[in-house]
């Protein structure tokens, strides 16, 4: 028997009510060993204005390059390491703290999967963030499939203040538009 997927609808402007209980801007518990990174940026619309009240969800492998195995039955204890959910402020600014994911295999560079939910988005947008100064980026099968200029929208920049600080903006529309995926 086959069913058809339910139609996506926008989260609207008030998603904070339903989603804030699970806001977490630290993807790993304090004390977890790994390469710590602080990421900050803004979500911008087609006129360069900040997208207010967006929710961003993040998902990545742990510092050993591993993901949890999906379960087939309800579980008693959550495993949220590598998962983040944050709300952009009124001017579209967001930030989170994470550990760089470990190596993922021959043709995949360390990355995080990013979902954007906002008023105006009838279904969420999916993109990826990659890390700067990462040799494996050259061999990544996703980055390698993108044209120069667009590929760079997925790679965070190093902040001026500290090597631990990365900058990455999400541009929904326009010349600097971020690459979004049919995921």
């Amino acid at each position: 028997m086959s069913l058809l997927m339910t139609t996506s609808q926008t989260v609207g402007p008030f998603s904070r009510i339903g989603l804030q209980w699970l806001y977490r801007d630290r993807l790993f518990a304090d004390g977890t060993r790994g390469v710590a990174r602080r990421v900050s940026g803004r979500i911008l619309d087609g006129e360069g204005r900040g997208v207010d009240g967006a929710t961003i969800e993040l998902w990545q492998a742990n510092p050993q390059g591993r993901y949890p195995s999906p379960l087939s039955s309800p579980c008693a204890n959550s495993k949220l390491e590598g998962f983040g959910r944050i709300e952009a402020s009124a001017d579209g600014a967001f930030g989170f703290h994470t550990l760089k994911p470990g190596a993922l295999g021959a043709d995949q560079a360390p990355h995080m999967l990013v979902a954007v939910f906002a008023r105006g988005l009838l279904r969420h947008l999916v993109t990826r963030m990659y890390f700067p100064d990462e040799g494996a980026n050259d061999g990544d099968h996703v980055l390698g499939s993108l044209e120069t200029g667009r590929r760079e929208t997925l790679i965070a920049r190093c902040g001026d203040d500290s090597p631990d600080h990365l900058l990455w903006d999400i541009v929904l529309q326009g010349p600097a538009e971020t690459v979004f995926f049919d995921c």
């Binding site: 069913l3 009510i17 999906p70 379960l71 087939s72 999967l113 529309q173």
Partner: protein
């Protein structure tokens, strides 16, 4: 490396385009470049695991989160979370939020001049059981005006967010009520051309789940993407 099967792409006509001219907020927020096809690897076929440790006793009863009862018509909303292969999605996290019975959200940004209800926050969450089933007790949300076009009103709706087995199955949607006269006027509800897809966003009155003398029941099933077949994988013993 894990060879977990990827997920099917949604059927044409069942999912909205990002640019939806009738929905004003989509104009400056919709990408103009075509989406890039992303083959599903582990980061797409896995996701966080949500357990019972996250949930509190009143999380599925929106009428029981404050000292008093909220105003409005008490309702039960229940259904199943299934995948496109009609298999139950077990342990899915279902989150819900909504306006109160007067059409006002408990959110600082809601400027609609309708009363807040001190006994209603309007949010809940639950994990699906072994059959993929979920159930909420809440009150029927009110319609509310919005600024999309002249004299625009949103039909009564409940926002649903579902976390299935993988990041690729993530879904956020809205549930509507049968017979709502605002449905034909609403650009969000009408964002897809497939009439049957729209009809599936409308809950059904559920007499069997209605509590006599207490609460009307509504049924709303949610379908997440199904896994693609893995033809190279030898069949597991027995039928499934």
């Amino acid at each position: 490396m894990s060879k977990t099967a990827g997920f099917r792409r949604p059927m044409v006509g069942t999912q909205p385009d990002y640019l939806s001219p009738g929905y004003g907020s989509s104009r400056l927020r919709s990408p103009t470049r075509p989406l890039v096809l992303l083959l599903h690897r582990e980061s797409e076929t896995t996701g966080p695991l949500f357990g019972a440790d996250l949930l509190g006793p009143s999380d599925s009863d929106l009428t029981g989160q404050h000292a008093g009862e909220p105003l409005g018509a008490r309702i039960l909303v229940s259904g199943r979370v299934l995948d496109e292969n009609a298999r139950p999605v077990v342990g899915a996290l279902v989150e819900l939020w909504q306006a109160n019975s007067a059409g006002r959200y408990a959110h600082a940004g809601d400027s609609h001049e309708a009363p807040l209800d001190p006994n209603f926050t309007g949010c809940g969450r639950v994990l699906t059981d072994e059959r993929g089933g979920y159930r909420f007790t809440t009150i029927r949300p009110g319609e509310y005006p919005w600024r999309n076009h002249y004299n625009a009103w949103r039909p009564a709706h409940i926002h649903f967010s579902v976390f299935g087995p993988a990041f690729a199955t993530r879904l956020v949607t809205q549930m509507y009520f049968p017979g709502d006269p605002l449905l034909p006027w609403d650009p969000i509800f009408n964002c897809v051309p497939d009439e049957k897809a729209r009809a599936r966003l409308v809950a059904q009155f559920d007499w069997e789940c209605t509590l006599p003398g207490r609460a009307m029941g509504y049924r709303f099933d949610i379908v997440l993407r199904g896994r693609e077949a893995t033809p190279l994988q030898p069949a597991a013993g027995g039928r499934s």
